[in-house]
Symmetry: C2
Subunit: 154 residues, 2 copies
């Protein structure tokens, strides 16, 4: 993982289907070298998978919410059941164990307020869940999953 690897990663996060020739031109490498580096970045886990960035609004998933969940006082088994349900539900994009007053922070993307309500009702009623609080996103100034990669870094 050197500076060239980071340049490649920075590039392919925005140009994931560009040819190896283009990537090579951008980072100063031959086609073969780009091929080898990318293969290595994939096997070492730096590149998890290749993806198309889909606009949620263009495909009918305009509702975005962040839900804080408290599990204090719940049985460990119940919390595990809640987390498994979260893992299986693909409307829940993110689930983080967080510091502070709350236990978990969920990022949720749905088709409508109705489906959000149904999902939140299910979460609030789960045995492992003590309390919830939801904030709705009215608009998004930016929303990316591109990992910042300057020339330095570890």
């Amino acid at each position: 993982m050197d500076a060239i690897d980071r340049k490649i990663l920075a590039y392919v996060q925005k140009g994931g289907r560009d040819s190896y020739a283009e990537i090579g031109a951008a980072v100063g490498l031959s086609i073969s070298a780009v091929n080898e580096r990318l293969k290595k970045l994939h096997t070492c886990g730096a590149i998890q998978f290749w993806s198309a960035a889909v606009d949620p609004r263009a495909v009918g998933r305009p509702i975005l919410a962040y839900t804080q969940v408290l599990t204090a006082g719940a049985r460990s088994d119940d919390v595990d059941a809640f987390l498994n349900a979260v893992r299986r539900n693909d409307a829940v994009l993110e689930c983080h164990h967080v510091t502070g007053r709350w236990s978990y922070l969920l990022k949720i993307r749905t088709e409508s307020l109705e489906s959000l309500e149904a999902l939140l009702s299910g979460i609030a009623a789960a045995p492992g869940v003590t309390q919830t609080h939801t904030e709705l996103a009215l608009s998004s100034l930016k929303e990316t999953s591109v990992v910042p990669l300057a020339a330095d870094g570890t």
Copy 2:
């Protein structure tokens, strides 16, 4: 935007560099048809760009934080300046205007607690910012940007 388009989108969010033949086999289309559909999905904005999903921990960006920002009472110009600074800073992955007690919710990814502290100090000191509150992610059960796409949807 029909059911096949949604199947294509669901597929390419996880297999973004697969060949058109593989995509076609998965959704029941010829190579040419996949080619045409993808081109259309790109021009209509459903596919924003192609990307490699990079593991933040594998590239030295392990710190993840969510910061709530209050701008109540601030001058409109100052809030705009804050938002522009946010837009330019690529450590801020997301910025949403949200309902509830806070004005904005920021998702921040940094290399270290030190760089997070520096970033948060800057935000808290901005003229447009009245108050902030930050929660640190201790661990992440899931973190994806894959938009959920069932067979239905709009």
